[in-house]
């Protein structure tokens, strides 16, 4: 079972470059999320989507953009990369509201370094 698949696994970016983290899920989940994980800080929600065509900001959206054209895909775009965006990024999905008791399933993570 594939579950949530995100690419690339590792990437080094130069300051000012842009890139897209890809995420796809095959569980037909309505909800998808992007989190970032920084040491000692836990997970912070960047953006989430409740369905195709609908996205909303999380706790730390600045410097990022998302789109949701299909149920399966939820790419995260980094514009003008900055060292503060060095982090581990996790894509996740759930059938319904994650905060309302529905289990959230995570991808394997993307390690991004901005130099």
């Amino acid at each position: 079972n594939a579950g949530v698949t995100q690419t690339p696994k590792f990437r080094i970016l130069k300051i000012g470059q842009s890139m897209t983290l890809q995420c796809t899920q095959d569980m037909n989940h309505n909800y998808m999320y992007w989190y970032r994980q920084d040491p000692g800080m836990g997970l912070k929600l960047i953006y989430y989507s409740v369905g195709a065509g609908i996205t909303d900001k999380g706790e730390v959206p600045n410097g990022y953009n998302v789109s949701r054209s299909t149920t399966e895909d939820f790419p995260l775009r980094l514009e003008l990369a900055a060292p503060s965006q060095t982090s581990v990024y996790f894509c996740a999905s759930s059938y319904s509201l994650g905060g309302s008791g529905n289990t959230i399933y995570f991808g394997e993570g993307s390690w991004l370094t901005v130099v």
Partner: protein, 113 residues
Amino acid sequence: AQSVAQPEDQVNVAEGNPLTVKCTYSVSGNPYLFWYVQYPNRGLQFLLKYITGDNLVKGSYGFEAEFNKSQTSFHLKKPSALVSDSALYFCAVGAFGNEKLTFGTGTRLTIIP
């Protein structure tokens, strides 16, 4: 606003001993509580959750957690620790109607052979 606290950054336990990883929460209304585990260079894996009903919840790999409403806690436990249990553990809280799950900062569990 909802929040969750994991008061211990690091917990060390000898193999074969019982283990406890602590979690307390704050939320308006009835909480939904989760435990996730993260192995090195991997994503988070779901362990168990409390939605309603029995306060003792059993999950994967022999883990269980006890919901205590009066102490607003949801501690993770296992009767006998294995070296393979060494990982980073996250507690998370939500509530009815919330899109978002709030995660704690994580507790690194190390099982000493």
